[in-house]
């Protein structure tokens, strides 16, 4: 079920830059709602249309409105030659990174439409459980990297394994990843917090997340130190000369890994896969597409949801992780979203609001696992409701007791209490959301990780703000 929320394809903050260069490419970029409380407005540069197009040569737009340029033609070509195909989509690059966009309208059909197919030979796949099997099997038997991979912990070190495999693939001649690696975000562009410095982590204003990231960084570094010590053969040493490269590889592995259950041969296995073109798809909570493994010829298919109407130029998105808070997204992928419908606020106290009335105020329907905004009921344009409201519906303490009606006075009291708690939480933050926004605006070329960290806390505050507002509306609409 799709949550109908107004979404922009990409939201950018265009900031006038004295140098006139767009430097911010956050990968993975994400789409979030435009309903933030601050004055972020997407400036759509109007494209000049020539007055009489017949008499003038059609000008190719160099920089289209959103700042999206078509990606390097080699990007698709290296895949095409190796029998990867993209049907009806094209890869575009914007200031926030790569994205996959529809190049033609797709009508809603009963059947999911195939959009991309990537053969197994281009991927780097490791089975999650022992025995670790590689598809395709590029690790030769006697190579010391094999021993390194063997030494990892089967439960938790999947990203280290993948990072080793990725580095090895970079080193192997005529491996596809040698070519594809040029299109991965490098250490400056990657927003993963593994590459974050201490001050970035402090900017998070979330001590849990910060400590988790520190642990992860330590773990990666220790692994590198253990296995790339000075006495290691050159074969290994040249894979990662410095720990930063290794940590970058780990961040790539973490953020771009796709965990799927695939069937190869007769074996059905859970595998961690690094899939070349499919990882350029961005995340959304109302995704367009999903992944499907075609066992017959071992292809990963990226398919558009059945019944999904896709317009030209719309971004193809996938749900990376289902049902996780922003901090999990941040930890794993390095981005956060203000409209995460799975955000959680820990409320203390007894105040509860009536669930059913809350849901019907905002026309949210569906089961608790899959709340969505039912826009057919509310025919007016309510741009207020987005993932954050849905998250609020989930995370606010509620009561629901069959037919028992709510008592408005009690409800109002509960609402006031909850709002008070939210305001307290907001007050606990050292900065307000406005300040955060201003900081983001004012920074010229921030480090990606820093930017991501600031955005993370900004989104958190926005979310709490939204909860307060939602409670306000609820309060108004209780009585009919």
């Amino acid at each position: 079920m799709a949550i109908s929320v107004p979404l922009h394809q990409l939201t950018y903050s265009f900031f006038s830059n004295p140098q006139g260069q767009w430097k911010w490419c956050a990968k993975p970029s994400y789409s979030f709602s435009n309903n933030s409380q601050n004055n972020i407005r997407a400036i759509k540069a109007s494209v000049e249309t020539p007055p009489f197009p017949l008499f003038q040569n059609p000008k190719l737009e160099e920089t289209p409105a959103d700042g999206l340029e078509p990606a390097d033609p080699d990007f698709y070509k290296i895949g095409y030659v190796r029998s990867m195909r993209a049907y009806g989509v094209e890869f575009k690059e914007g200031p926030d990174g790569f994205g996959v966009f529809a190049s033609k309208d797709i009508e809603p059909r009963r059947r999911a439409r195939l959009v991309m197919q990537i053969p197994l030979e281009l991927m780097l796949t490791i089975r999650q459980k022992l025995p670790w099997m590689f598809f395709p099997d590029i690790v030769p038997l006697g190579h010391p990297i094999f021993d390194i991979i063997n030494s990892t912990d089967p439960e938790t070190d999947w990203d280290l394994r993948l990072a080793c495999l990725l580095l090895y693939a970079f080193d192997q001649d005529d491996n596809f990843w040698q070519l594809y690696g040029d299109f991965l975000p490098n250490a400056d562009e990657c927003t993963s917090l593994l590459l974050a410095t201490e001050e970035d982590l402090m900017e998070l204003q979330d001590p849990n997340l910060a400590s988790t990231m520190r642990e992860q960084q330590k773990r990666a570094r220790e692994f590198w130190e253990k296995n790339w010590h000075s006495g290691v053969p050159l074969k290994i040493k040249r894979l990662a000369h410095d720990p930063e490269r290794f940590i970058w590889a780990v961040s790539i592995a973490q953020s771009r890994c796709i965990n799927m259950q695939v069937r190869i041969g007769a074996l059905v296995q859970d595998a961690n896969m690094l899939i070349p073109y499919a990882d350029m798809l961005n995340h959304s909570f109302q995704p367009n597409c999903f992944f499907h493994w075609r066992f017959k010829d071992r292809m990963l298919e990226v398919m558009v949801n059945a019944g999904q109407h896709v317009r030209r130029g719309e971004e193809m998105t996938v749900n990376y992780m289902h049902g996780q808070m922003n901090d999990m997204l941040m930890q794993r992928y390095g981005f956060s979203s203000p409209v995460n419908p799975w955000n959680v606020i820990q409320f203390s106290g007894d105040a509860r609001i009536h669930l059913d009335s809350f849901l019907s105020v905002f026309n949210i329907s569906g089961l608790p696992e899959e709340y969505y905004h039912n826009s057919k009921i509310s025919s007016d344009e309510e741009s207020f409701i987005d993932g954050a409201v849905i998250a609020a519906a989930r995370t606010l303490p509620t009561w629901s007791d069959g037919d028992v009606p709510l008592v408005p006075s009690i409800e109002r009291k509960a609402v006031k209490e909850l709002q008070e708690e939210c305001r307290q939480m907001l007050a606990e933050f050292p900065t307000t959301s406005k300040q955060d926004q201003k900081m983001l605006d004012s920074m010229k070329e921030p480090r990606r990780t820093l930017e991501a960290a600031i955005k993370y806390r900004l989104h958190r505050k926005l979310f709490i703000d939204k909860v307060i507002k939602a409670l306000d509306i609820y309060q108004d609409r209780i009585l009919f």
Binding site: M1, H8, P70, A71, P73, D74, K77, S375, E381, F480
Partner: protein
Amino acid sequence: MATLSAAWMYQDRGLGPVDYSDDFITRKPNFNRFQTSFLGSFPTGILQTRFRLNNLLRRTSSVRRIKCEKNDELPEYVSVERPPYYSYFDSASGQLEPASGARASIPGEEYWPEGTASRVRAARAPEPTGESTGSPSYGKHPGSRRKKYKASVRARSSEVSVESSASLEPEVSEDATEDPKESSSEYVVYETESKAEGETEYELDKKLGRPHPFIDPKVRKPIEEPLSSEELWWNWRKSDKEQWSRWQRRRPDVETVFLKAMAETGQIKLYGEHPTLTETALYRARRHLFKEERLKAEQERLERIGPIAYYSEWVKAWKRDTSREAIQKHYEETGEDENTQLIEMFCHQTDREYRIMMGNDIRIKRDPLAMRLQEDQIKQIWGGDPVYPTVNYIQDPDEVIDYRGPDFHEPTPNMLDYLKEHGKVISREELEEILAKEKTEEVEMTDMDEAMAQAVDIGEKDEEGEDSDLDADADDEEEKITRNWSVLKSTPQLQKSKAKPKKDGPMSLEEAVDDSENLTDFLLDFDEED
């Protein structure tokens, strides 16, 4: 802000398009908890609005109506049939013809085996065009070909990477861009000027579309001596040499042999010596149609005249009137309905007639109109005798070989007769006779019988000889007959004819002639007779 309030107002007033006729519209102040589910799409790209609570909102919200869901189903897309680009209706024959004439059109996607559709789609996907400005770093500089990175690289001007990439570029550029772009640089552009001078008038004519001979007169070679018939590769004429092997003869086919035979008997007329494929097909069709016609006519006749009249053709002994009225009258008189009368009629049928009627017996020719093939013609189609294939073996064509008799289908012999034959069983009358004899004339008759039996009739020499000969022959023949007991059974007259001369005395001439096997019997004592 204005828009928002307008929206709220609108929500209140402009309820025209909303359908009230649906079921649950409640004006209750309570929000009931109906939760409907379906897929909705929210318009995108809405400018954000500042949400403000005002009294207006409160007022309008009180009158707010609850709308019901409307189910707008997606229009059913009927699949349009594939346009028949690959076939058309032939104007001559009226049949569906493939356009190319070579084969029928390739079946559509629905009939492809699994996986073909995806492979075809992958093969049809257009090749990417466009040339890349960067070059791969082969794992050394990940992210080097991203656009934003390149911009930042330029800004920061890290010389090392730039130099390395610059040095890599000329080497790597050929590898980076795959085949299609290189080939364009290798084409040599030919001048079109030279051809214009070298154009003959013939070529000019051809180019301009003026009438011109087929072959350029300068290029044309004179016609040489035509090839002899042996040299012609499509040598139509039959060679004069005799065929050196029988394998080169015309292969016979049932149809062609039949037709040839029919032509010889004059039933049909062929164009040439041998029937062609067309004629074969034609006459075959005609035969088929005739057979069908005949069968239909027969059926129709059966229906018309009724079963009794129809089947009386094979019952010669049924002389009564078989028309429908007569049957009806008979039914009224005797109460026997049609089936009973039919059974009655069939009781008068002989078995030969029955076999003719059923047509199962191969010895009886079924259709007198059947064309008789000559022996060689039969041999052409069905082959000769597999056991005796040579011509020298002559057989009587009318001889019924190994005919076991009409009741051969019952191979089990009549046990009673067999036992009687061998004297294992006697009839009841004989038994009673014997018993009676045994009781009464036990002592006396035996002496007399023995004496009678031992007495030798001393007659004339001829008689003796005849008698002894006859006796011997009779004995022999009796033995023979007892061996072929089945023959004995089937021909009862054999028994009687042999039994006769024992009882009677000297025979008359007719009896002797009848009795003798052949005339050689009389040859024995010929010189004695006078």
